[in-house]
Subunit: 279 residues, 4 copies
């Protein structure tokens, strides 16, 4: 860490030209080759995800098992080379390796090498599927993620409220679930509190599988109340996020020229932070 500045200093002399060029191709998307690389990567990620999916379907796997393994080897080779190159060309190697995408890149090739030494288990599957998250890296480069960040930010800003709401909802479901246990008298699907809570959440979120449904008149009456509650209070998270999003839209528009306050409403004539005239 302490030699970071020094590194910075000798940047141009130290780094060979091909490293700089490779860096631009692999990490950036502002050259023709860089874009081509991104598209190849995107195709390989999608293909690789698709293969993992198809492998899990027994009928298809029986027919195409060899093809899947060959493709998996080729793609893993590509990902491995890519991973090594990424480490080679980046300056701050440790930062990359332990970054979110660094770990995802590593996890994308790990299962293959593990499977050489250990028997393949079903737990490999989920790790292999995590490759899919690499899509976000490319979308990021392709300038597709601004809107994504907006959504994430709106969710993050309202997350506290949504957690509280979910807590209310869960406690409500737990209590209604417990009541149903008494009402339905340990009928099928209402044998224990956890099962009744499962039913209550299925109902209040309006999912309604129907694998568990009330049998007694009183149980049906309680269900009806629960459904109406679920149907009404879905307004709460919606209201929270909508209010947050509306807020976000505005922040974008204006910035106070004096104090840099970026929370200036459309219709403000003075900065609300420093009193500077804006319009």
């Amino acid at each position: 860490m302490e030699q970071h500045n020094e590194e910075e200093h000798n940047y141009i002399s130290e780094r060979t030209k091909w490293k700089r060029q490779l860096y631009r191709i692999i990490f950036k998307s502002d050259t023709k080759l860089g874009k081509l690389f991104d598209i190849i990567l995107l195709v390989l990620i999608l293909l690789s995800t698709f293969i993992v999916m198809m492998e899990s379907v027994k009928v298809i796997d029986a027919k195409l098992h060899i093809l899947f393994i060959v493709l998996e080897v080729i793609i893993t080779m590509f990902f491995t080379i890519e991973y090594i190159l990424r480490i080679l060309v980046i300056r701050n190697k440790r930062n990359y390796i332990f970054s979110f995408f660094g770990i995802i890149d590593f996890l994308a090739i790990l299962p293959f090498y593990l499977s050489l030494f250990f028997p393949i288990t079903k737990y490999f599957l989920i790790i292999r599927m995590l490759r899919m998250l690499r899509i976000f890296r490319i979308l990021n480069l392709m300038d597709f993620m601004n809107d994504g960040y907006l959504i994430v930010r709106a969710l993050k800003n309202s997350s506290r409220k949504i957690y509280i709401f979910l807590l209310f909802l869960i406690i409500f479901s737990v209590i209604v679930g417990s009541m149903m246990l008494m009402v339905e008298g340990h009928r099928e699907g209402f044998e224990s509190i956890p099962q009744s809570i499962y039913w209550a959440v299925v109902t209040v979120t309006t999912v309604g599988y129907g694998d568990v449904s009330p049998g007694t008149p009183l149980g049906k009456f309680l269900s009806v109340l629960l459904m109406l509650a679920g149907y009404s209070i879905i307004a709460v998270p919606t209201g929270i996020v909508t209010a947050e999003m509306r807020n976000k839209r505005q922040n974008f528009e204006l910035v106070c020229p004096r104090c840099g306050n970026d929370d200036v409403d459309d219709d403000a004539r003075y900065c609300k932070k420093c009193g500077e005239k804006i319009l």
Copy 2:
């Protein structure tokens, strides 16, 4: 194309009177005959769609097969004549033929003529149902579609955000689906990743068919989390579209020429900030 202006120029002299009149009746809705034509067309479209539907019900088709065929022939004749007339009376024939509605008009009569030469297959059905889209042409003429355009525009403007949201949702469903495959241990409905993803989408969108539902306690616990997530994040597309709609109401329109206030409503005659006359 280059002779377009010339055509424009000689408009009145070149075109015979009946062509102009027919054009007004068929393509416009500002004369009595034009309105009558629209209403007849609307009735025929609805009738024809209804016939295709009823034909697909075996019990009904068995009884009324002859009637359906006769009506189909009559309506197709009308649509054919209408299609020929449309081409005849319009000046820019190529534009019409390859326009959205031109293709729909053609597809409305195509299945009948194809069925004279080829055996009828189930693929004809869907093409015949596309006739229904012709309803929009008439609604358009009848000034009914302004609100429709507003909705379409709000959806289009927020489509980028909604696509990103759907991408998040799909990737989320894929990962949760893969996890359920491990958790539920290849039970019925969780045999492969695609099937688990199907379950995950059924759950997160709160559809909840119930044809696949978790059987193990851990699976039920994961389902509950997925349901709560689906119940909460429905707020996101709602928030996006609501913010967009509110925006549409405002920004669409006018800016005050004096003070630059862009929050001027449709029906405002004076700027609400500086009192400037706008209309």
Copy 3:
């Protein structure tokens, strides 16, 4: 009608005192007796609705049939007397009789008298249930309906947009339904276009009974797309109504003192209709 003004004129002299008092008790809610009358009426309506419901449950009806009939006779007597009194004490009898509540009041007693001459059929049931609508009359008097009118107005103002949206949704469901017919190949629940449309609406509205669900992989894939569509576009009616409600809130606040314009925003400093300074 032509003697209406005259009637108005001689109002006090013509009308006997008891008619005026009864009118106030029955039609208004600003006296002690009037409030008592409303509460008795409310209880009787609820009781009567409850009886109709319970009568339809065979097990309960078997036990309490006599009680239900006695109560029904008593309540109908009360409603009949009330109906006659209403006609007696109101000045504009025709207006009342053919008003919405006048018809509801009449339908509340009709089934009983019809049942004296005709055998009781199941169609009587729904007419008897319409009594329930009389609740709104009392809520109206009790000043409970202001918020109701707000909701109704917001729905009415956005109804055009919602109809267009529903039209889009229905046409979309019809086309997807037709496609599923081809894809699922006349499997159970997808035998005809109407049945496929039923499935499509069940899916797109996220109801998801599960009585019909796709069986083929391609069918499941299409279903997933339909669910995601349904989950996203629920944002549209929500956005429409929310925008409308927000609008409504504002209209209430301020009124321009010069031109009476009631569409004045919170932050307006000039009336947008006539340019009058407001604050």
Copy 4:
């Protein structure tokens, strides 16, 4: 009550030091010990709730019955001591005992002592689950509930509108349910009006268990209408709460003393209309 002021007066001298200290630990969260106490309490509440849940699962209870009883006794002892201490250290004892949390605290220990004298019935279960509500007390202390209050207040302020909406919805469901009884002709699940209403609510709230679903074509058609209605009018509670939340953000707060502008954000230090200093 009348000696309240006097009590207040002699506050410092009368109350022993340990009472004041204990009060701060138990009722406040601004000391290290106070925070520790809260965390221990939170853990015990969660543990205790978890035990009640697990006890209801027969398979688990069979194995761990003794452990559960021992833990229950220990936790109840702790809660009892806590309850007694709370009464001891608080000045206004009656207020506490009959407050919401006072009753919840009492109900948390009641079932255990009752079970010493009476046989345990299933009704004990629900009372024991009510302990969970004690979580809110701790969240409250931990400053987590500000957002919760916002949600509750938004719901409370819009509750009148939501009740009216629910009334509409219920009456609508009752009438549609009654119609379905006639249409479906007493088929399974539509035997009586209450059962039909159950189906109607299941459908209109988009829960869609599928335990009852229409069998006749006309019934399916009516269901489709009901689903589309339910899918559209969910916009109403959402619109109500969203409008309320947006309002809360604004009106709650401040009014500019100079220009009377009431659209002043939480974090504003100057009025955005006239530039007046606010804070």
